[in-house]
Assembly symmetry: C2
Homo-oligomer: 206 residues x 2
DNA sequence: GCGTCCGCCTGACATTTGTCATGCCGAGTG
DNA sequence: CACTCGGCATGACAAATGTCAGGCGGACGC
């Protein structure tokens, strides 16, 4: 790699313990330098604008805006900045959305710091990397079989709201709402809409 | 503190990235030494038995057995070993169960490594420490208002199973099950049982 | 010992939810 | 163009759920 110019990193994770530890470990690598840290989505955006890092290492779940949203914004504002997403609970759907947002790497937090450093170099060099296990899950789960309305209604039903409320919020008749929930449930192989919500959540389809 | 004898630590966390980083950072402290690492609950138990650490730093959520379960076992097998729990998503109920299991410290992963090192010394010295914010949440949430049966039935209802199935598994009539779910929901201020499940989960009561 | 309270349990009734048959409309195909 | 297919939408009917009044029994205060 370019020995003279170190890779400038942005680290974003709401867990100070991890962020700090990571910053310390990655700084041990000769060719990596952490130029900014952030604990929330918006903060990460601000830091990226201010420091223009080469690679942004983002946690998937952060207060304010999640990693994918930040990646989407970065994509348009700083096209040169590669994004590497690190996550604890990788759901298949997240991976897909992340890749669509232009993310270059996607790995679980179970990797070692050593490996992470290598992957940072990989994405910086313009290559992509996706954890094989997460990729396998994503392929197994496949695309969401839900139509736009089905997904929308299912999402509104996610917190256990009654049909009447969903119908009002979606500007639909109650019968229609029941129908979408029903078809979504059968597509997902669920007994009822609540189990359907759970399954869709697991696969990252909502 | 005892300058001559360093505090021997066990680190358990399923996220290799964090565990490794943490081990590196804590090892920088003169008076701390990491003698064992584990990625799962059972592994943590085995490591504890083999190395008999002074303090065990446990993640709350691990495959196999969670931090509280490990703490309970440690309590009886190695009474001298102090337990410090570190967690990303601290639910009120977890804190209570942890303290009942004899845990000496309970902190979120948002603390810095520096602070964690101090807290390790604190619990090693025989003192307790609970993150003030988590403590406040726990006090605000209070004790579970649910009776034993209500909690049991609510748990069976957690994955969206129909009443008939719950009734069979709990060996109750359907009417009774409906009643428990209903009273649980009203106690929690929920519209229906699904919202009740969600709330109970958030508060750590199931 | 008696009344009272609370948890546990049940069935009957009203409400909510799931299922089905049906119609409308736009996209793709022969 | 006519046909078919799939997504969107609706209301009627059946099934599941939530609500209610009430019975049983143990624990507590007096």
């Amino acid at each position: 790699m370019t020995a003279a110019e170190p890779v400038r990193l942005l680290l974003a994770d709401d867990e100070h313990l991890i962020r700090g530890a990571l910053a310390a470990l990655l700084s041990l690598e000769e060719d990596l330098v952490v130029v900014a840290e952030a604990a929330t989505g918006p903060e990460a955006m601000a830091m990226a604008r201010a420091h223009k890092p080469d690679v942004a290492v983002l946690d998937l779940q952060m207060p304010g805006a999640d990693g994918v949203k930040v990646a989407t914004s970065l994509r348009s504002e700083l096209p040169g900045c590669k994004v590497l997403i690190v996550t604890s609970h990788g759901r298949p759907g997240h991976l897909k959305r992340a890749l669509q947002a232009g993310v270059r790497g996607f790995v679980p937090k179970t990797v070692s710091a050593q490996r992470l450093a290598e992957l940072i170099r990989t994405v910086h060099a313009g290559n992509r990397y996706v954890d094989p296990e997460l990729a396998a899950d994503a392929i197994a789960a496949g695309d969401s079989p839900l139509t736009a309305r089905e997904a929308e209604v299912l999402e509104l039903a996610a917190d256990g709201a009654p049909v009447a409320e969903i119908a009002e919020r979606a500007a639909l008749s109650q019968g229609t709402v029941r129908n979408y929930l029903s078809s979504a449930a059968s597509k997902l192989g669920a007994e009822n809409r609540h189990a359907a919500v759970r399954l869709a959540r697991e696969r990252g389809w909502v």
